[in-house]
């Protein structure tokens, strides 16, 4: 909440600060690698993952198949590329749901602090927090059957209270600022003040939290796909690749390595980028730590 002092004309300075923040640069590089792999997979992968070549199954990594092949002879490198697409899409949409629903709720609760609507929003938040994304996914799947959409909804719902709480807390502290009082003296209403004075001053915070929720979403998607509640065949996903690898862990341990590393590096990249952004947005905090 302490990054609220960022000022626009410091933007140039922020770019310079970004170039001097190693964690941000490493994180950005990792994220870009996986993002481009995901985008590239739409037009090109080394092999077609719908081609099953049983004769070529369970090959260890080599010059022809960089990450080896799976039980059906599919190229693991290509599958990891397409898996990146699934993971990133699910996590990104889920963050979008969290922001689009959570932030307005949080701003509304803060603007009506102490009123009934505030209480209702906060209690609803507490309630959703009692359902971890996995339980939500189990409920949805039990009724609608498993699919990637369920994973998006479950993770998205879980993101809503995260953003609602964050924006409410930050907005509440901004409502105490004298410039908000000055705007009220100028006759501006709560909605206009929220849009003009509150939201622009909490965007940095939302960007940082968005990065973190993005990375949590990747982990959650992998977990759901692993237990069969997320992405369904034939679409490759990192979590499903791992659950298939597990059945063959004695004979082909390499199957488990690459999808796992892909998850670790994507999440690591996003977290490093989030930490870096926090430092860049809040030079004060950076000096203190």
């Amino acid at each position: 909440m302490s990054d609220l002092k960022v000022e626009p004309s410091l933007r140039m300075g922020m770019v310079l600060a970004a170039l001097r923040t190693p964690s941000f640069l490493i994180g950005l590089a990792l994220t870009l690698v996986f993002l481009s792999a995901a985008l590239l997979s739409f037009v090109w992968t080394p092999y077609d993952v719908t081609d099953l070549e049983i004769a070529n199954k369970l090959k260890t990594p080599s010059a022809t198949h960089w990450f080896g092949t799976d039980a059906f002879g599919r190229d693991i490198f290509s599958m990891v590329m397409i898996g990146a697409r699934t993971s990133i899409a699910v996590a990104l949409i889920a963050v979008g749901i969290g922001i689009v629903i959570g932030v307005p709720l949080g701003l509304l609760a803060a603007a009506r602090h102490g009123a009934l609507i505030d209480e209702v929003v906060m209690r609803a938040n507490d309630l959703v927090f009692a359902f971890p994304a996995l339980l939500m996914a189990i409920m949805i799947t039990a009724v609608f059957g498993p699919s990637a959409v369920n994973a998006i909804i479950a993770i998205g719902i879980f993101n809503i209270p995260v953003f609602a709480r964050l924006s409410r807390g930050a907005a509440l502290s901004l409502w105490q600022r004298d410039y908000v009082l000055a705007a009220r003296v100028s006759g501006k209403g709560r909605t206009l003040i929220s849009a003009e004075h509150i939201l622009p001053n909490i965007t940095n915070l939302l960007i940082v939290q968005g990065t973190i929720q993005f990375s949590l979403g990747i982990l959650a998607e992998a977990g759901l796909a692993y237990v069969g509640l997320g992405t369904q065949p034939p679409l490759p996903s990192w979590g499903r690749m791992l659950s298939e690898a597990q059945t063959m862990i004695y004979i082909a341990p390499h199957l488990a390595i690459f999808p796992g590393l892909a998850i670790v590096f994507t999440v690591l990249g996003l977290n490093l980028m989030g930490d870096g952004l926090r430092d860049i947005f809040d030079p004060k905090l950076r000096r203190a730590r």
Binding site: M139, T141, N271
Partner: protein, 316 residues
């Protein structure tokens, strides 16, 4: 202290009611007719009608909700549609695998994270701190079920120190069970410990910058004394929040990890029930897990009041 606890108890009850309503709505109202859903498309109308009858689905939704709730209070969860036995029996054994696993992992995670976080904060910006921060950054990024698979590869397949999975049952003795739960608990605990250690460190660093720590130093306390006697207890308040949240993640994680280690816990039960469309079991397991999460939130809230005297006066 007492008024505060009562207030938290009231809020616990309200949360439970709301949660049960949500579960009931999603599982029993959203699918339309649960009986035809459970039997699938090919069921004859007579079978569906018979199931509706045996499940009491002909009653209106509010009545069914009330019956479910009153049953829950008495420990009656209903009869499983696929297993044809009371759900409470199905759950009981499995509960005593999942819950000890989650608690074991919580204890491990806290026991690792506390000292690590404190050391990192006390030696901030030293090589020790930098390496701790690097390792925890990596730890946060590792999915627990993949970490579990790596542990199996290393300790069960290569080193053969542990068995790759399975659970002997509590009648086989406490130690045997704990051994069976150790790898799963480590797999669950280490990623969570990384998060907790980072929170511990940053909370402690924030507190070390507070005025009252400066006051303590002005009294003649050393840096270390000021940290232990004044900063630590104040730093615990945000850490407690995270521990409370972690429990729900650990419980959810436990359900996933059971798959890696073939543990006969609630996770296996619920996934089987989903494939068999046994909504009664799914509903009960979810309620039980949500109940555990809400209960832990309550315990955390009461612990706040022990740590922070300001909360003991009823208001929040």
């Amino acid at each position: 202290m007492l008024p505060y606890t009562i207030k938290r108890l009231v809020s616990l009850t309200i949360s439970l009611m709301a949660a049960s309503l949500v579960i009931f709505f999603v599982i029993e109202v959203v699918p339309g007719d649960p009986a035809s859903f459970m039997l699938g498309l090919n069921a004859s109308p007579e079978t569906v009608a018979a199931l509706r009858d045996s499940l009491g689905l002909n009653a209106p939704a509010p009545v069914r909700y009330w019956q479910w709730i009153t049953g829950l209070v008495q420990g009656e969860f209903g009869i499983s549609y696929t297993y044809k036995v009371p759900v409470s029996e199905l759950i009981a054994d499995r509960f005593w695998v999942s819950m000890p696993l989650a608690i074991y992992a919580l204890v491990l995670s806290t026991a690792i994270a506390f000292p690590v976080g404190v050391i990192a904060a006390a030696k901030r910006n030293s090589p020790t701190d930098v390496s701790i921060m690097g390792v925890t950054q990596l730890g946060v990024a590792v999915p627990n079920f993949w970490f579990a698979m790596l542990l199996v590869l290393l300790f069960a397949i290569s080193l053969r120190w542990f068995s790759a999975g399975g659970f002997p049952g509590w009648e086989a003795g406490f130690l045997a069970c704990m051994k069976a739960l150790t790898l799963p608990a480590i797999a669950l605990a280490l990623p969570q410990a990384s998060i907790l250690a980072r929170v511990m460190r940053s909370s402690l660093l924030d507190t070390l910058g507070e005025d009252f720590v400066r006051t303590a130093r002005a009294k003649g306390l050393t840096r270390r004394q000021a940290l232990w006697r004044h900063a630590l207890r104040n730093a615990l308040i945000p850490v407690l929040t995270i521990i409370g949240l972690q429990f729900s993640f650990l419980l959810a994680g436990a359900i996933i990890i059971e798959n890696v280690f073939f543990l006969p816990g609630l996770g296996r039960l619920v996934f089987q029930s989903i494939t068999q469309r046994d909504l009664i079991v799914v509903k009960s397991v979810i309620f039980l897990l949500v109940f555990a999460v809400i209960l832990v939130t309550f315990i955390v809230d009461v612990t706040y009041a022990i740590v922070d005297p300001r909360l003991r006066r009823a208001r929040t």
